[in-house]
């Protein structure tokens, strides 16, 4: 029976080539636009570290003076941390793992005068960074807590930088010149670029795109005067010579808390710490916050508003395309009242007529899906050539590929419901009389 409906539908679609083309094209444009924007949105709002994100938390403290709140409303807790507080929390070791970090644009000088110096994104951080974020090592390993305290001049570099400077060879033990200081390479990472770069929110640099190039111990790098990209002062002025003791926030702190009990305990610990600081006279407020990774990404609007607006717009467009398809399918089916009358008179049930028209709608949907996929690829190609930092990531993966057909079929079946219903309630007698 299905084969017969298919045959009928194809015949009907062939009879009105212009109209069929119009329907398929409109549906395909709507689907193309929707899939393009959804693919980008999904990519940007995805989980940067799915195996770990549930365990990663971002604590916040408020060292700002009473007469100078961090935010206008006075309700936001500062999103960065002072060096003293970050070190206190790290040394307290109340979480399974904890690491402080700052971003820095650093000048790298290639060895022995090969090539010109260039700038790359550097991360100043502490020992737990690599195991906590599951950063994969190709050669060597990270540094130890003793290296942190000993201000060791060591570095972990990204695989891409290793390819560029050392031709991909094992460079552990060799030296790299960062900001005119020599650091010994102790580890080389495999390709590692979480999207979004969750750990760098508010620390400077881009949220999407390539990963960072070099990682150096925070204290060791600061001994060489490497400067963080973002600093916010809450005192008279930021004494850049003594950033560690200055009234300034410039570090992000991440902690790993494996279960709910740990989270509750850490919240308690943060609250007590803030109260202690108030008692010591260092703080004026006891506000603290502890956000999970995905919650933090949402509250800090890491996904650009424009991307969300585009997705909304594309959905509006798809809706218009579906209404358009409903109209055209309906017009077609109303013109075929006589054919329906004859089929009904010859014994076809309402269900059969309904199915026949839904099959016709589904064919339009599948065709629209295939063409829509072409449009989506075209749209993503266009986005890859845009200057946006996430441009190079815009690709269609298998699940989005399948999703396209689901959307297309769903859209066309919804569009086909009304015409198919109108078709199956056609009364056969008046139609036959007119013949």
């Amino acid at each position: 029976m299905f084969g017969y409906y298919l045959d009928l539908a194809l015949r009907s679609l062939k009879r009105n080539k212009v109209l069929t083309t119009l329907m398929v094209l409109a549906l395909a444009l709507g689907i193309g636009a929707t899939i393009t924007t959804l693919a980008v949105l999904r990519l940007l709002s995805g989980d940067p570290i799915p195996q770990k994100s549930a365990q990663l938390f971002y604590p916040q403290l408020d060292p700002y003076p009473a007469n100078q709140p961090f935010s206008r409303s006075g309700k936001r807790v500062p999103y960065l941390m002072s060096y003293i507080d970050a070190m206190n929390l790290i040394h307290a070791r109340k979480a399974e793992r904890q690491a402080a970090m700052a971003m820095s644009q650093v000048k790298l000088t290639p060895p022995s005068g090969v090539g010109k110096p260039f700038y790359a994104q550097g991360v100043l951080t502490t020992t737990d960074f690599f195991p906590m974020f599951d950063a994969p090592f190709q050669y060597g390993s990270g540094w130890t807590a003793a290296d942190d305290e000993g201000r060791a001049q060591v570095a972990v570099i990204a695989g891409s930088l290793n390819d560029k400077l050392f031709g991909g060879a094992n460079s552990v033990g060799r030296m790299i010149r960062i900001e005119d200081h020599d650091f010994r390479i102790i580890g080389v990472l495999r390709t590692w670029a979480p999207q979004p770069r969750f750990y760098a929110v508010h620390l400077g640099g881009h949220s999407y795109g390539e990963g960072d190039a070099v990682f150096v111990p925070l204290q060791g790098a600061r001994a060489d005067d490497l400067m963080p990209s973002t600093m916010m002062g809450y005192g008279k002025s930021i004494d850049v010579e003594h950033l560690e003791t200055a009234p300034a926030i410039w570090l992000g702190l991440w902690v790993q808390l494996p279960n709910a009990a740990d989270v509750a305990a850490y919240k308690m610990f943060l609250g007590n710490y803030a109260k202690e600081q108030v008692a010591l006279g260092r703080y004026q407020r006891t506000d603290t916050a502890l956000s999970g990774l995905m919650e933090w990404m949402r509250s800090e609007h890491v996904v650009p508003d424009d991307v969300r607006l585009q997705a909304g717009l594309a959905f509006g467009f798809l809706l218009i395309c579906v209404v358009n398809t409903v109209g055209l399918l309906l017009a077609k089916c109303l013109r075929r009242s006589r054919e329906i009358g004859v089929r009904r008179a010859l014994g076809a049930s309402r269900g059969a007529i309904f199915t026949q028209f839904m099959v016709e709608a589904a064919i339009v949907g599948v065709a629209g899906g295939v063409l829509g996929l072409v449009f989506a690829e075209l749209g993503l190609w266009g986005i890859r050539h845009q200057p946006a930092q996430y441009a190079s990531l815009a690709h269609l993966d298998l699940s989005m590929f399948l999703f396209t057909f689901v959307v297309a079929l769903l859209a066309s079946l919804v569009a086909g419901l009304l015409p198919a219903w109108r078709a199956c309630v056609v009364a056969p007698a008046p139609q036959l009389k007119a013949v």
Binding site: L19, T109, N324, G327, L330, L334, Q386
Partner: protein
Amino acid sequence: MEIRPILASLRRHRIPAALIVLEIALACAVLCNAVFMIGQRMADIHWPNAIDEQGISVITVNGTDPALAASDIPRNLAALRGIAGVTAAAAATSMPLDQNPALTGFTTTPDGKTTVNTSVYFLGSGGEQALGLHLLQGRFFNADEYADSGLKNFQSTSHVLLVTQSDAQRLWPGQGALGKTLYANGESWTVVGVVGDVLAQDPKFSGPGGRYSSVFYPSHPDEMMGDYVLRNAPQDRDRVVREAVQALGRLEPGAVVEGKTYAQMRTDYFADTSSMVWMLVLVCVVMLAVTAFGIVGLTSFWVGQRRRQIGVRRAVGATRGHILQYFQTENFLLSSMGVAVGMVLAFGINLYLMSHYATSRMPWYYLPCGAIALWLIGQLAVLGPALRAAAVPPVVATRSV
């Protein structure tokens, strides 16, 4: 034109008529909001900036030896001034739109409060001329002020500064700004001049309040000055950038030297915005095309369905003009209903966007403009099918009855 028969006929085709109304309503709602967003973003891209944008090139030098700044910067400037076509050159810490904000909150009293982020610029000698600042009141810096000033911990050691016109009006409304004192972080400076509005280093980050909030300090050569601003005739700028990058590359072999025209800097800053504008324009055009083709398709079917009816009307005396008018009026009625619903919907979407995104209220005139656009598109779309209807000969009435 008699409307009643049209209404009677529409009542008999309620569902297709409702679909056209719905499609036009959705198109109108999306169109109004998309055009409004395009307008807002175009306004952003064209934010005025009171410097000589067309005649400026900026060479950025990073990673120099800080200890040599005092001697190297004058040497580099001398080399840059030697390039043919360069009329002025100066060093500076940052440039408007360079996305590298150095922000401070200034107040008019020692212990005041502010929520405005002011962009701070330090200019080397001749910086006003190199940037092409527009002096509105007071004076620029003199040689002594340049020689005696520097910066420590991002804070000026000078006693004077220039403010923008917007800041002068914001900070001292109804009074002259000249001679007034500005305070920040326990230090104070005297306003010696007011210049035309210069954009912030990152106006999107600074927000509407900080967009034109900028101050300029004088400074002797300092390690923080990584930008060399060159002024030249607009037609020379590409060559000047090329030669300047080569010259500084030779003088500073250990540094990273990059050159750009200021026009390029502006384009780069607004690259995201302009790609959003293009995307919105594309969606609007395609959406209107889909709507128009939808109307063409539905009306064509209507015409086909009513061939006999049209033939009868023609046979009993209706002219071609009457038939044409009939379909045009019908479309006008449907469009009007669609547009009425669409305007309400557009307003609703705008309210939603205002509460969820940084969108402002849509001015009322976008609604009638969207309505007119959809009326026009409706009329254009219906013209083809209506002409075909008008061409139906009266003999059709006699033929198949």
